[in-house]
Amino acid sequence: MKSKGILGIVTGAITYIYALVSFILSFTVESGAWGRDTHGSKFYIVLMLVGLIILTFSIIALVDLKRGRVDALIGSYCFMIIGTIGFIFYLATVIDMAISAGDALSISELIGAIFNTCLAGILGVYGYLSFKKKSIKND
């Protein structure tokens, strides 16, 4: 459990730092119709959030372990939340691309986004089922 917690902290921190640096690099300022249009990549913001969630849950797991309690639900809880967030994000990306589609390049990106939506959905459902199973076991 302790090694899993430490692994979670390392993974979360690396994901967060990587996403933060990539987000800063993706920042652009353009002149729009109304004034200045400032944009960063949504993908890296969500990746930052995922990194932070992994980090937070790992810290909770380690703190609980130190206090002598082990919460078996924490892993499935993490899967469920990250799956849900990923699912909503990629679903929004698909809708956004479908509405503003037109160029040839977006077709491959659209397929990628649909694939990611399904993957995140499966992860969310897996997390939920595993959460439910473990809750029944705990009762």
Binding site: W34, T38, H39, I45, V46, T56, I60, L91, D96, I99
Partner: protein
Amino acid sequence: MKKTFSIRTMAEVAIFAALGYVLDFLAGAYSAPLFVNGGSIGIAMVCVYIVAYRRGFFPALLVGLIMGLLDLADGFYSIADVWYKAFAQVALDYVVAYPLVAFAGLFKGMFDRSSNNKGKILAIVYGCTLGGILKLLSHVLSGVLFWSNDFQPTWGISSPLLFSFVYNGAYMVPCIVLSMAIVIFIAYKYSEFLTEPDSYSLRVSNNNKGDK
């Protein structure tokens, strides 16, 4: 002394802020063709409302602030002519708007004290309406700052204040109603979800002791 920000509260704040951000993005994706000047019909406010009733005003304020800052980091429009107007408009639209929704948390006491569903629903209706209206006012004020410079009569409305109120009300009112309906549904079906977990588990264990 009761701690407002335990590690679990912080984790919930982070989760709901992340969920609120992606829900806001989802709403923005399908509402973009409808509201070309910004705004969307979505349920992102539910995340702030849930934390407001579950954990109270300050954690909800933090959720709103994080959601606003993430929204700001994702991208924003600013007016080029006067810097302080641009600053005020961006602050009102992104930094201030979502935290104002946390004022729903002022009705947490009323919600917790209510023993029947009617009282709980009244607390939700008052809280959600107050939070939603404050957010609407923030957008209206920002719209006036944005449009006041060279406003052309639109939809037969010649006043920038009235136009801003009608435009922002067009998406904010459905947002408030939808979010309120979802929170009421949660209060009906899964009331423990809106109750502070520590007090809930304490009450359950006390009831169990009483049974024995």
